[in-house]
């Protein structure tokens, strides 16, 4: 279907919108809807306190974002990861692009905690640079070897 107009814009008589110009405009606004995969880096994944979270490159089934103005949407699917050290409450994912959360955000989380399935919460806090993954009831994550998986989605208002 030819793209000839959009709400609020009336082309001159006999003229239409050049699709390549519109596409370039939307790309400049980060409004194409395209998702960007985050390049793997082990440092993007940590535990709070003395808990360790090891996510190998092959564990990163999906870690991607979509940004528009001061909102970033992040989805993640991380499988067969390892939790060690002193068990604690948060597995943490660095917000892509080095962005900072402007306020609290909440998203959904489904997890497999050392083999036990559950639903939890993905959150950010004001001025935070990480997504915090908490189990149902905010209990400690269990130590595991290649048996912790997390899947989730969150939209975050960012400071810039």
């Amino acid at each position: 279907m030819a793209l000839t107009t959009f709400p609020g814009y009336t082309p001159a008589a006999g003229k239409g919108i050049r699709f390549d110009h519109l596409t370039a405009l939307l790309a400049g606004l980060n409004a194409t809807g395209a998702w960007t995969q985050v390049t793997y880096a082990g440092g993007n994944f940590t535990g709070n306190g003395s808990m360790t979270w090891t996510v190998d490159s092959g564990d990163q089934l999906r870690f991607a974002y979509r940004r528009f103005e001061k909102t970033i949407a992040v989805l993640f699917a991380l499988g067969t990861t390892t939790v060690g050290g002193t068990p604690s409450t948060d597995l943490r994912i660095t917000i892509p692009l080095g962005l900072t959360s402007a306020d609290r955000s909440q998203g959904w989380l489904y997890y497999i905690d050392n083999g036990t399935h559950g639903a939890g919460l993905a959150t950010t806090v004001a001025s935070g640079t990480q997504i915090l993954l908490a189990k149902s009831g905010f209990g400690n994550w269990a130590a595991s070897t290649n048996l912790t998986s997390v899947y989730g989605y969150i939209e975050i208002e960012t400071t810039n």
């Binding site: 564990d59 067969t80 390892t82």
Partner: protein, 125 residues
């Protein structure tokens, strides 16, 4: 040594009891085998070091022949990791029973015996 992954698909018509499968994968292949289920019939297995052909075949066989998931098996697995309140309930009853057993010159039941008995009972329900 780097982590290595193995994608497995199964043609079995019933869902596998994955706790049983994991026990067998770890016993027969490596103690650090982990898995994530990608869909109803596809699994991504992980361990340190490359998968040998023998290990791949073993992993497939374990998945294909694992017992079918059931409420009875779920209950038995849960008994290996009871919450504290459930342990307290069971152990209080056992302690009381052991007092009575002692009055009849019978040896006390142990916690291991209790868990085994509960698993056996779960299998019959």
């Amino acid at each position: 040594m780097a982590a290595d992954y193995l994608i497995l698909s199964t043609t079995r018509s019933t869902p596998a009891d994955l706790a049983s499968a994991l026990t067998q994968w770890r016993a027969q292949i490596a103690a650090d085998v982990g898995y994530v289920q990608l869909d109803a019939k596809t699994f991504n297995l992980k361990k340190e070091g490359s998968w040998t052909d023998t290990q791949k075949a073993t992993a497939q066989t374990v998945l294909d022949t694992a017992p079918t998931a059931s409420p009875q098996l779920d209950a038995q697995h849960t008994l290996d990791d009871l919450p504290i309140w459930a342990k307290a309930l069971a152990l209080v009853i056992m302690d009381e029973l052991n007092i009575l057993r002692g009055q009849h010159a019978l040896a006390p039941r142990t916690q291991a015996q209790l868990i085994t008995a509960m698993k056996n009972k779960a299998a019959t329900l």
